[in-house]
Symmetry: C2
Subunit: 158 residues, 2 copies
């Protein structure tokens, strides 16, 4: 019950673009550097998000990626599910059957039921948080450090 690597790094790369706004643009190389991951890996994650319609790619010499919609219009549920698939595997019963042909609990199963409730809660939380919320939060976390204005340094020195 954790966030996968694809989901987390994908989200991080998308946040880099989100900080540039819909008009901004960045190359994969720069995005990769910003997040400390390899260029091919960032490239792969961005390709997924491009196919999912989250980002746009511009090819050629002055190419790069940009975010497709306003960061305030993109919630985490969309990002996470597009990167890692649905929270609740749709053909769960077909896969996790042990040695049987089909899940023995298909119709009457409290675990499926509770899994559904849990997925709903998680989805609700993720849907209620946008990329912009993350960026805002980020700003609030950095600001306290640059509280004293540099121009005032001479006054407060003594």
């Amino acid at each position: 019950m954790r966030m996968s690597a694809t989901e987390e790094y994908g989200l991080r790369c998308l946040l880099v673009l989100a900080r540039q706004g819909t008009e901004g643009q960045m190359s994969v190389a720069d995005i990769a550097e910003a997040e400390g991951i390899s260029v091919p890996y960032a490239s792969k994650l961005l390709a997924i998000m491009r196919q999912a319609g989250l980002v746009t790619a511009v090819r050629g010499r002055k190419g790069g990626f940009r975010i497709r919609r306003e960061p305030s219009e993109i919630d985490l549920l969309e990002v996470i599910t597009k990167l890692g698939g649905p929270l609740l595997d749709p053909d769960h019963c077909a896969k996790r059957t042990g040695q049987l042909e089909q899940c023995i609990h298909t119709d009457n199963c409290s675990v499926h039921d509770i899994l559904g409730s849990l997925a709903g809660k998680i989805a609700g939380f993720l849907a209620g948080t946008t990329l912009n919320d993350l960026i805002e939060k980020e700003r609030l976390m950095v600001l306290p450090r640059i509280d004293r204005r540099p121009s005032d340094a001479s006054q407060t020195q003594g």
Copy 2:
């Protein structure tokens, strides 16, 4: 962002024992059959839960497993984390660093922050649901089918 196979099957096996109560007992073979998984696999999952203190094992010819505490006293957070580890990987920053020595966001990172909030929400939900809740829910799902009491059949027949 899904429940792992270990978590789900482990939970299912534990539920089988929970239905027997703290006095009941079942062999791995019977548990495995009840959930439609292989005996060695069920054995492995039960071993994890034994070491985690969720179940007790009785060895020897009349051996088997039993649940260690009342199902109403065991919540899903405990089960899930003991089977699959913490919701938020503790040395996350040490692992997911891309090519760097350490995560570049260690101190200032809105993603970590939001991940923490999410993990908290999930934990809250899981902590609020016990094994007994699942069993109760299960009963309510089956009951409607046996609504008419068999002993009343002669009275309502005409």
